[in-house]
Structure formats: C-alpha cells, structure tokens
C-alpha cells in the first residue's frame, strides 16, 4: 500500500509538470494552429536559464526563477516574431518544418553553451518530510503546489482580464477578433510569451530534482503533444486533466509493468486514439 501511495504521489508530481507544459502548448496551438514541436525544448532552455541565472550568476533559486521565466517570455516573443509570423500565410507544412528547425537550434544551442554533460541545480529544499506514510522532499511537494498555483493564476488571467479575453477571442475566430480591433499579432506574441514562460516555471520547479540535459526536452515535448491531442487542441481543462492522467499512468505503468517501455504506453495510446478518432478525443470537426 505504501508503495502504491508513493507511486501515486510521484505520478501527481510528474502530472503537475506535464499539465503546465501541455497548458502552454495548447494555448499556442489553439491560437495559431501551429504545432510548436519545439515546445519541449523551451522547457529545456528554461531549466538551463535557471541554472545560468541561479547558479552561474548567483542570484539564488527564487530570483533565478523569476529572471529565467521573464527571459523565456522574451524568447517566446522572439520565436513568434522570427520563426512563425513570416509563415502565417504559407502552407501549414512549412510551419512544421520551421518548428523542427527551431527544435534543432535550441537543442544544439544548449549543447554548445552548457555541454552534453548533465548539470545539477542545487536543491533549495532537500529536507525530507513524511505525510501519510509517504516520504518526500519539500521540493517535490513544491512542484505540486507550484503547479496548482500557476494553473489557478492562469485561469484567473484568462477569465478575468481583458488580455486573457483577447487570447480566447483570437482562438475562437481570428477574423472576428481582427474586426473588433484586436491586434492579432500582439496577441500571438503574448501567447507565445506566456507559453514559454509557463514552460520555464515547470522546468524550474522540477530541475532541482533531476539533472539537466540538452535532450530532456524532446520526449517531454512529445508527451505534451500527446496530452494536448487527447485533451483537444486549445482546451485548457483538457490539458490539465490529461497531464495528471498521463503522469499517473506512467508512474503506475512504470512502477508495476516495465520502466523501459513506459513512454511506449503513452505514445501507443496516442496512435490508438487517433486511429479511432482522427481529430482527437475532444477535438472539433475540422472545416
């Protein structure tokens, strides 16, 4: 029973990360209809920026986190402006390829600057605590709490502020939003900033527990796609629910079945679901 609870706890922790990363991805996909294949790599870069600002420059964990999230927001804006905006009117296939280009760029950027060796961010809260028979470090608990706070904050932003409403308006009807005087380009840039920033938060919360490596974004990015497609493109509740579900499936599947093949389950489930329903579980019919 203890082992089971421990696995569930780990699943919720990973699920928190997945939920945040998928949230950022679903925003971008809902708004621009562009699958940003490089989203996982934004997560990776966020982790490295925390290392850079927190450890190399010496701002410490919390200041480093704030600066790295802000810096990733700028990276997101640049990405939208340089890579995706020029491709707005071109066939979609070109945007996928540009996304693969940015993925290769970001991964080799991290490789060049920080090397292929795994890096460790000093864990600010390594103390262990025990709750209901589960032994865990405070940092792990922080991942879960941080995710809940971020999701709640983002929800309030989307529902209660004008800026959030403009994002939703563009997602629903691009032309209609333009007609009401919304600057679609600015909304796109802002969405990219939020998307990259949330990825940086996820990386900052999780990276004191695991090593940083340039390749860590690839698989995570793909999992975020799995979640977004299962939950429906552009659906925020779908991304959150899917994130926690995938975290639990992996923790239990990896713990009880086979650790080496745990990613195969997730990706296999995606292929199966898209085979049966080609537009995703909650996806609308395409035009």
């Amino acid at each position: 029973m203890d082992l089971f609870l421990q696995q569930v706890f780990n699943g919720i922790m990973f699920g928190s990360t997945y939920a945040i990363v998928a949230l950022g991805l679903t925003l971008v996909m809902g708004i621009l209809n562009i699958p940003n294949f490089a989203h996982g790599h934004l997560y990776m870069l966020g982790g490295y920026l925390l290392f850079f600002f927190g450890s190399t420059i010496g701002l410490g964990y919390w200041f480093g986190l704030i600066v790295s999230v802000a810096a990733m927001g700028v990276v997101g804006v640049l990405m939208e402006r340089i890579v995706y905006r020029p491709l707005n009117d071109q066939p979609h296939i070109n945007a996928f390829i540009a996304a693969v280009g940015s993925l290769l760029f970001l991964e080799s950027f991290a490789l060049v600057v920080w090397g292929s060796q795994g890096l460790r961010i000093p864990n600010p809260y390594p103390q262990m605590i025990e709750i209901m028979g589960i032994t865990t470090s405070i940092q792990r608990l922080l991942v879960i709490i941080g995710a809940v706070l971020l999701i709640a904050g983002l929800h309030l932003f989307m529902k209660k502020t004008i800026l959030g409403a403009t994002i939703e308006a563009v997602a629903q009807n691009r032309e209609g939003a333009m007609l009401t005087g919304i600057n679609v380009n600015r909304v796109s840039a802002m969405t990219f900033a939020i998307s990259a920033g949330t990825a940086a938060v996820a990386a900052s919360l999780l990276s004191p527990i695991f090593m940083l490596s340039p390749s860590m974004g690839a698989i995570l990015g793909m999992k975020a796609f799995v979640i977004v497609i299962l939950g429906g493109m552009g659906s925020i509740p779908g991304a959150i629910f899917g994130g926690y579900l995938l975290g639990l499936i992996e923790a239990l599947g990896g713990g009880y079945l086979s650790a080496a093949y745990k990613d195969v389950f997730a990706f296999g489930a995606l292929i199966l679901i898209l085979s049966i329903k080609p537009t995703g579980l909650f996806g609308q019919k395409e035009v």
């Binding site: 996909m29 209809n33 562009i34 699958p35 294949f37 340089i82 890579v83 020029p86 491709l87 071109q90 066939p91 979609h92 296939i93 070109n94 996928f96 390829i97 540009a98 693969v100 280009g101 940015s102 993925l103 290769l104 760029f105 970001l106 991964e107 080799s108 950027f109 490789l111 060049v112 690839a218 698989i219 793909m222 796609f225 799995v226 497609i229 080496a260 093949y261 990613d263 195969v264 990706f267 296999g268 995606l270 292929i271 898209l274 085979s275 049966i276 080609p278 537009t279 995703g280 395409e286």
Partner: protein, 334 residues
Amino acid sequence: MFTKPIHTKLLYLAILAAALLLPWYVPDAYIFQIVTMSILYAVAASGMNLILGFTGQVTLAHGAFFGMGAYGVAIMTKAGIIFWLALPVSALIAAFIGLLIGLPTLRTRGAYFAIVTLCFGVIVWIVSGNWVELTGGHNGIFGIPRPSPIPVPFFGQIEFFSQTSMYYLSLAVLLLVLFALYRLVYSVFGLTFMAVRNNEPLADSVGINTYATKLISFVAGNFIAGLAGGMYAAIMGAVSPSAAGYMLTFNFLIFVILGGMATLPGPVVGAFAIPVLMEFMQFLDDYRMLIFGALLIVVIIYFPMGLVGGLRRLNQKVAARRQQKVSESGHASR
C-alpha cells in the same frame, strides 16, 4: 510537358559520368565512405520526398522505416539468409509495417499526422534500444556479413568485399529508385499525388480516392526507406538504435527541404551537399547543428523550394529575360 532542355540533360549526363568514375579520382577511403553513405541517404530522402514533397504528408517516422530495413538485413543475414533475399524482404517488411501504420493514421491530417508518425518513430527507436533478444539492445548488432558474390556466366563472379563494389551497388540502387520515382511521379497516376497535396477536397471531388493515394505514396516511400536501411546495414557491418532514431528522420527532413521539396534531384542534392558541408564545417563541432537548425528556418521562410527549386526559378527568369530580349530586338529590326 515534362521534357527538359538540352543543357539540363547534359548536366545530368556529366554528373552520372562523374559518379561512375568516382573511384578513380577519390582515393581517400574516408571521403569514399562519406560519399557512399550520402548515396544511401539520398535514396532514403527520395522516399521521404515522395510522401512529404509530392503528396504533402509530413511523415516524421522515416528514420524508423530506415531502421527496420537495417535491422531486418542485420538479423536475417546473421541468421544465415543471403543478403540478396534479406534486402528485398526487409524492404517489404518496412513497407508492410508502413501499410499497417498508414491504414489508421492516414485518416488524420496535417499536424495530427506529423505527431502520430513522430510518436511511432519514437516507439520504434525505444523498442530497438530495449528489445535485447532481437536487436541487441543499445549495443546493436555487429559483424553483419557482406553480400555474397553473384556468379556471372563467362566472367567469373562479382564480389562485394571492397568498398568500391559496395559503392557501385549503392549507386545502382539510387539510380533504380530515381528511375522508378521518375516514372511514377511523372505518370498520370503520379499527378494524383500532387493533386492531393495541392487541394485534398478538390482532388476528392474530381474522383480521386485521396485516402488510397496517400496510402500508396506512404507505403512506397517506406519501402524505399527500408531498402536504403538494408544497404546501410550491409555496408556499415553494424547497426545500433541510432539507425532507427528520430534524429535520423530530422536529417532526412533537412536533406529534402534544403535540397528542394517536390523535385526529384532535390533530396539527392541535399543528401550530398549537406554531409559535404558538414565535413567542411568539422571545425565548428557542436555548432553545426545550431547552424543547420537556423538554416532550416531561413530556407523555409525565404526559399521554401530549396536549392534545386531556387535554381530552377532562376533558370526560368533568365530564359524569360532572354526571350524578351530576342522579341525586342526582333521588333527593332523590323
């Protein structure tokens, strides 16, 4: 409609002659190896071009099908089956798995298809690294035998021990694949591929079975990938999971895009130009992929037709200008 001007034909003939005579003027074994690998990559990239360029379906599992061909030949030849049987059977296995995967996934469109194929590619890569009994796990399979000699009447036999003979074998495969693709793409049936790419609902409404068209393109492209992979295993003598990895898919993608999507010479040019460029940029070390990532973005934004497409457009402009001049001078003399 599809006839080429005479100087283009001469250019192709010159390239063919240069390729046939290559062993005489490239003595360096290392460069020779790179050229042979480029030929195989050109074969695989041409297969990807059929699906991606001509039919417009972004497949991101091409490395996986290349890997199936490679592992197929490796496992079968190690089990004692001769190469000449193992190669087509491996390519057929890749095509068959392509059919099984294509049947459900080709119902999806655009981004969904790209993601599904990417996920499938990653699954194949993970399985090839973990199914130790079949694939040898992360170490892969070593000591794959070279193809057995072919007896030729009145001549003795053709042996495949030297690098040169493997080079000619790869070249023959490339020419065969290019010829097959040429016949396929420029046939009436091949036009349906492009119709599906350009406007799927329209193609559907004029009576093209778009689903079957996409499926045929996908299966044929993966057959070619498997063929290239099988050759790779025999030439390298070893395969490891990186021969089935998704990074390989991205390499093929770079070859196709930078060389020129939806042109037959494009992927071949890409597969030769880029590894050569990489060799020249050896001193840049890890910076190379950084440059290629950025290059991919720049090319897709400003030159979506790639190198070959760009050259063709330039050629057309020059020809148009020349014609204009001729007609102008004609008017003046009259």
